[in-house]
Symmetry: C2
Subunit: 119 residues, 2 copies
DNA sequence: AATACTAGTATACTTTTGTATAGCATGTGA
DNA sequence: TCACATGCTATACAAAAGTATACTAGTATT
């Protein structure tokens, strides 16, 4: 079965649809993963740059979430052998492919901002 | 400023992009909200139907999450004055508009399934 | 010498999320 | 009458997520 027909099959069945959603959810779940990925869409970043970009995140959370994202193959960590050491984080190809997901979320967020605030 | 140029503006700025992502994230965050919404994409459902559709969810969690989704204007709850009472849950127009978000997540999930499992 | 930057870790804590189990009020079918 | 379905709520607890604060080691700046 090819990609597009697999997609069509899944869309027909609620149970399969939920499973596929969960596959994605397991990777991006939590308060901080999407903000981190969002920031990295704009290019490689160092630890402190991410910390400044993402309001209210603590170094503990940033460190923990970056490790999980690395484990899931979303983020690549590179240590440069300079003095002092420089560490850079960037999206892998899997990570970059999440951009589509992020963009539709941004569109939805903009459309429903007033709706959400006025609750 | 119109919709599409607002979107273009936001995409240019990492900070604004993160804010818009967070607006969406606040509504769909957690382990169960997307599965519930996914299930309701396939039509109105009763409490027990949702419980059966969504593997491993407990009635406590289902009840709690449905209330939050109702508060956020994603789900509408209707009680029918029959004997015995019948309660139905369905997506509002805001809820239905999340379908796009869900569908790109399904696509990503399918594409990256092996990648995720083979970690 | 004092201060600040980088890239984090350590400790302790609170809050949220989730699980397990039971129960209730109502009604239906065998 | 007994078990079962519906639509939940109650209680107790465990685990995960998140927060707050302090700290380290190395280097550079003032």
């Amino acid at each position: 079965m090819d990609k597009s027909s697999e997609l069509e099959q899944v869309k027909k069945c609620c149970g399969h649809f939920i499973l596929a959603v969960n596959d994605t959810l397991n990777v991006i779940n939590g308060k901080w993963k999407l903000p981190i990925i969002s920031s990295l869409i704009y290019g490689k970043k160092r630890f402190k740059e991410l910390e400044r970009d993402i309001a209210k995140i603590t170094p503990r959370m940033l460190s923990k979430e970056l490790k999980e994202l690395e484990l899931n193959g979303i983020v690549k960590r590179t240590v440069y052998d300079t003095i002092p050491v420089k560490v850079e984080y960037e999206l892998t190809s899997s990570g970059k492919s999440l951009k589509k997901v992020l963009e539709v979320m941004v569109e939805w967020g903009l459309e429903h901002r007033e709706n959400i605030i006025g609750k």
